[in-house]
């Protein structure tokens, strides 16, 4: 609106002068008509008219142009004022830059992960559908082929639904070093659902998926990295898992389903035997809503479908407490549920910090305004309106917001560059984090808003001031704005207390988590993954034998204490779970299914509790055996010994034809999913009797694990030169990875808590020392009248203490609901944690009194002779 007026200004200006000229002409005409000579008439008319420019200026004032012109004068004046007080200006710029920088960095994180739309056309129409069964402890789990076929056939509200097997291992051999590629098997319609055509070549056909054709689509990043973006690769064959696959297309850079680091896609072939309700849950789904259909409508449709399925297959989909449902949610949200609450807390924490910074700025501005009361009073006396004063004040601080934007963006850029590599592995779309348009707009907006809010209060105080009173007033009385200042400091202490309380809760959770015993020893253990090329080994026996030979070779490396293989490593983020039943009982137990070699338990230091471990005599032909862990033993058999009992995998509602295995031993329970939740017991079978293609190697070493990696890989290559290994990490690193989200949360909130403590005490110090300065004369009189230095000191300290106590009291009241909101993110402590409730205010009060100490000491030294003469 203002801008529009600014642009039309020049045309209105010329309009005005034409109007005035016309008036003059009429005046002259009238005078000539009355009998004056033309020259005389012109002179008289001009005289009567007065100063042309003056009239124009008066009119312009009425238009409000002058406002804009005045603004630039005000800004120039403001800049001069800022230059005159360099320390004050520097402090404020630093504070603003810090606040804007931190909040922009956090916002860019939140924007990139949660808010930014997916890079597909009409991405708001994309949904993910997952089965859900909250009552049995699975709020979301993988889809299976049977459900997919049923949904796809019966859904009327989805355009289409695609199915993807998220991680499929492909060992690339042939050209160059063997490499394990992270691929996905997808239904042929996925590119159509995502509406993304290939960059080069073509996508799969339905017929290719049905006959399990050996064709592959490459990701843009992989194509560039491995083939140097060579267009001729399309149509050629590459060796994957020992078989030739034809490269039929290259996908564009934005095609990154299901996650950023996927390198190739092959058609999803579903063997007819796999289509079975209740089993083989291993897929992700992505669907596209029809136009005009909302997520809620689709959700209702899927719930109805699941109810029908529960009637049709009660054994599979009905449980004691309910039935298995389906969760329809926007695709962009489906992979962020793990980090969403963390990011929200970070955003809240940074908002608190920003609020404190804003109030701090307001305090500083009020103090500055108070020191200029006389100047302002003179302005009011000379006829400046309240609005005019406010505008001037705003114009003076506006340059600060530009400093805030500049400094903040620089800081945010640096923070992102430095810390994005340390983000938790579970955070999706990390590559989308950066200083893009919306993020920059956020920085600008936040900076402007903070300065605007901070300058509102002093502006109001000033405009209210009565010039006569202010001019008469000497420094004998405490200047106005005192109450506003005190309130602002109390508010700052309040918010700081909440942040501190939150930080303490997270720190306590973190330390509780560090004390958790995962059930195995991670120290000195090197791990790596290998996926076996089935085409090369064929039968299970040969794969198992290959594993045994690997284990033997690695055990012979000097410094290696123990080595073993397992199909899924603890805390590595992948799982294989299912039911287990015991012979002669009709209940089943949800467990982690593991296949291991004998050396695995020693390598991970998983203790044997009863019976024996697996050993080399457990062979495909020998009696089938297995181990269960102590928690399953206790749950299934209580105090009775489980040794000798028989168990097997159990599939709900499916045919039971798997042979029984005898429990030969009980081992210690370990935490497989995360340190925070103890979800399932474990059962182990020998690799020789239940062979799996994917294996993780655990090697216990006598030195730093990383040093052994080359020797271990060399031994693997000696056994099979084409065997790629991936995810080479120490077990400690896996442990750190599971803590990453919590580390981020704890470190950030604690840091913000400390920063807020600092800022709040800076504000407190400012106000207390400013007030003490104003009362210096009073203190001088008190001392002259015989008051002790200690008494004067306590007067100042009491001021600081009162502010801090009020802030702490309100803060404690508010931190109760805040703590409740954080409950789901806490571990090992409750939101009513006594230690945090005591420690946070204690910390704040101590630092507050410390910051009051300086002014108190100064006040106590007030020399009556000096302060009284100082007028």
């Amino acid at each position: 609106m203002w801008i529009q007026r600014w642009f039309s200004k020049s045309s209105e200006d010329s309009d005005l002068s034409e109007e005035l000229r016309a008036h003059l002409a009429m005046e002259i005409q009238q005078r000539i008509a009355a009998g004056e000579s033309p020259a005389e008439a012109a002179r008289a008319a001009s005289r009567a008219f007065g100063n042309f420019t003056n009239v124009q200026e008066d009119v312009r004032e009425a238009w409000g142009w002058a406002g804009l012109e005045r603004l630039s004068t005000d800004i120039r004046f403001g800049l001069r004022m800022l230059r005159k007080t360099p320390v004050w200006t520097a402090v404020i710029c630093a504070m603003l830059g810090l606040g804007v920088g931190l909040s922009t960095a956090i916002f860019s994180l939140v924007y990139g992960v949660l808010l930014q739309p997916l890079p597909y056309p009409r991405a708001d129409r994309l949904v993910s559908v997952m089965p859900t069964s909250v009552s049995t402890g699975y709020p979301r789990f993988y889809v299976n082929a049977a459900l997919w076929l049923y949904w796809r056939k019966n859904s009327k509200l989805l355009e289409d639904l695609a199915l993807t097997r998220p991680v499929a291992n492909f060992n690339l051999t042939g050209q160059g070093a063997p490499e394990r590629l992270k691929g996905a098997r997808t239904s042929f319609n996925l590119p159509a659902v995502l509406r993304t055509p290939p960059l080069l070549g073509r996508v799969f056909t339905r017929e290719e998926a049905e006959r399990d054709a050996k064709v592959a689509l490459l990701s843009h990043a992989f194509w560039k990295r491995r083939f140097g973006a060579d267009r001729a690769i399309v149509g050629q064959k590459i060796q994957l898992n020992g078989m030739p696959f034809e490269v039929i297309g290259i996908m564009p850079p934005d095609y990154r389903y299901p996650a950023d680091d996927f390198e190739l896609w092959t058609p999803l072939y579903i063997p007819p035997g796999e289509i079975q309700h209740g089993a083989n849950h291993q897929y992700l789904s992505a669907g596209r809503l029809k136009d005009g259909v909302s997520v809620a409508q689709a959700q209702a449709e899927f719930t109805v479908m699941m109810e029908r399925l529960a009637q049709e297959f009660p054994a599979v989909y009905r449980s004691r407490t309910g039935f298995v449902g389906a969760l329809v949610e926007p695709l962009a949200e489906s992979d962020t549920f793990q980090v969403r609450s963390t990011l929200q807390v970070l955003l809240g924490a940074v908002a608190c910090l920003l609020l404190i910074g804003c109030m701090n700025l307001a305090v500083l501005l009020i103090a500055r305004a108070a020191s200029r009361t006389r100047e302002m009073a003179v302005r009011v006396a000379l006829g400046a309106s309240g609005g005019r004063l406010r505008a001037q004040l705003l114009a003076e601080v506006m340059p600060l917001s530009f400093a805030g934007i500049g400094g903040g963006l620089l800081l945010a850029w640096w923070l992102l560059r430095a810390f994005v590599p340390y983000l938790p592995a579970s955070m999706p779309r990390v590559s989308a984090i950066g200083l893009n348009g919306p993020v920059v707009a956020f920085a600008v907006g936040v900076s402007m808003l903070v300065v605007l809010l901070a300058s509102l209060l002093p502006g109001r105080t000033m405009a209210r001031s009565d010039p006569a009173e202010a001019l008469q007033r000497s420094s004998r009385s405490v200047t106005g704005g005192g109450r506003a200042r005190n309130l602002l400091v109390v508010a700052q202490v309040t918010v700081a207390l909440i942040l501190l309380f939150g930080g303490l809760l997270f720190a306590r959770s973190f330390s509780a988590l560090l004390r958790v015993n995962p059930g195995f020893s991670s120290q000195g253990v090197l791990t790596m993954h290998l996926a076996v090329t089935r085409a090369k080994y064929g039968k299970d026996e040969r794969v198992a034998d290959y594993y045994r030979r690997l284990e033997d070779r690695i055990k012979k490396i000097p410094g290696v204490v123990a080595a073993g293989l397992v199909n899924r490593l603890p805390l590595s983020g992948v799982m294989q779970t299912g039911g287990v039943e015991f012979e002669g009982r009709d209940d089943s137990f949800d467990s982690d299914w593991r296949s291991a070699t004998p050396g695995y338990f020693t390598a991970m230091a998983i203790p044997l509790k009863q019976g024996r471990l697996l050993n080399d005599f457990d062979q495909p032909q020998s009696p089938r055996v297995g181990l269960i862990d102590e928690s399953l033993a206790r749950r299934a058999f209580g105090n009775e010994s489980p040794i000798g009992k028989r168990f097997r995998r159990y599939v709900r509602g499916g045919p039971q034809e798997e042979p029984w295995s005898v429990v030969v031993g009980v081992v210690g329970h370990i935490l497989n999913d995360s340190l925070e939740r103890d979800t399932r017991p474990q059962v182990y079978w020998p690799e020789t009797q239940l062979t799996q293609d994917r294996a993780a190697l655990a090697v216990r070493t006598s030195g730093p694990p990383a040093q052994f990696a080359p020797a271990v890989i060399a031994q693997i290559r000696l056994e099979d030169p084409d065997q790629p290994v991936y995810d080479v990490r120490s077990m400690d690193q896996w442990l750190d990875r599971t803590l990453q989200t919590r580390t981020l949360l704890t470190a950030t909130v604690t840091m913000f808590g400390a920063a807020s403590l600092f800022l709040a005490c800076l504000g407190l110090y400012g106000v207390v020392s400013y007030t003490a300065d104003l009362r210096l004369r009073e203190f001088g009189i008190r001392i002259a009248l015989g008051a002790r230095a200690g008494h004067v000191r306590s007067l100042v300290l009491r001021h600081a203490g009162t502010l801090a106590v009020w802030g702490c009291l309100i803060g404690l009241l508010l931190s109760w609901p805040v703590g409740r909101g954080l409950r789901s993110l806490l571990f090992g402590v409750t939101n009513g944690d006594v230690l945090s409730t005591l420690l946070a205010p204690a910390l704040l009060l101590t630092v507050a009194l410390l910051s009051g100490l300086g002014p108190a000491r100064k006040a106590a030294k007030a020399e009556p002779a000096v302060t009284l003469r100082n007028e």
């Binding site: 109007e19 009429m26 003056n54 238009w63």
Partner: protein, 112 residues
Amino acid sequence: MADSDKLDVLQGTLDLLILRTLQWGPEHGHGIGQIIRAKSDDLLQVEHGSLYPALHRLRREGWIESEWGMTENNQRAKFYRLTPAGKKQLVREETRWKLFVKTMARVMRPQE
């Protein structure tokens, strides 16, 4: 500067005078000045320095609107016209003015 036989336009009454003048039809700035002078038997003189700012202020308030047109003497001039909002404003101002005059008169009336 003020002649003894001329009256200064009372603060705040210029708006009322302009609105009232425009009640009889569109008029340009010069014409408004002339009409006020004529109607007041040359007692009221509107300064250009007050007239034009007032006109533009009234236009901003939306009480009058302006348009370029031709005078009888074929002179290009900007004509001002009362808007419906301006008519309502005129009624309000007139009522206030009458009240003001009545009140002033009652206060100034010699004691009986």
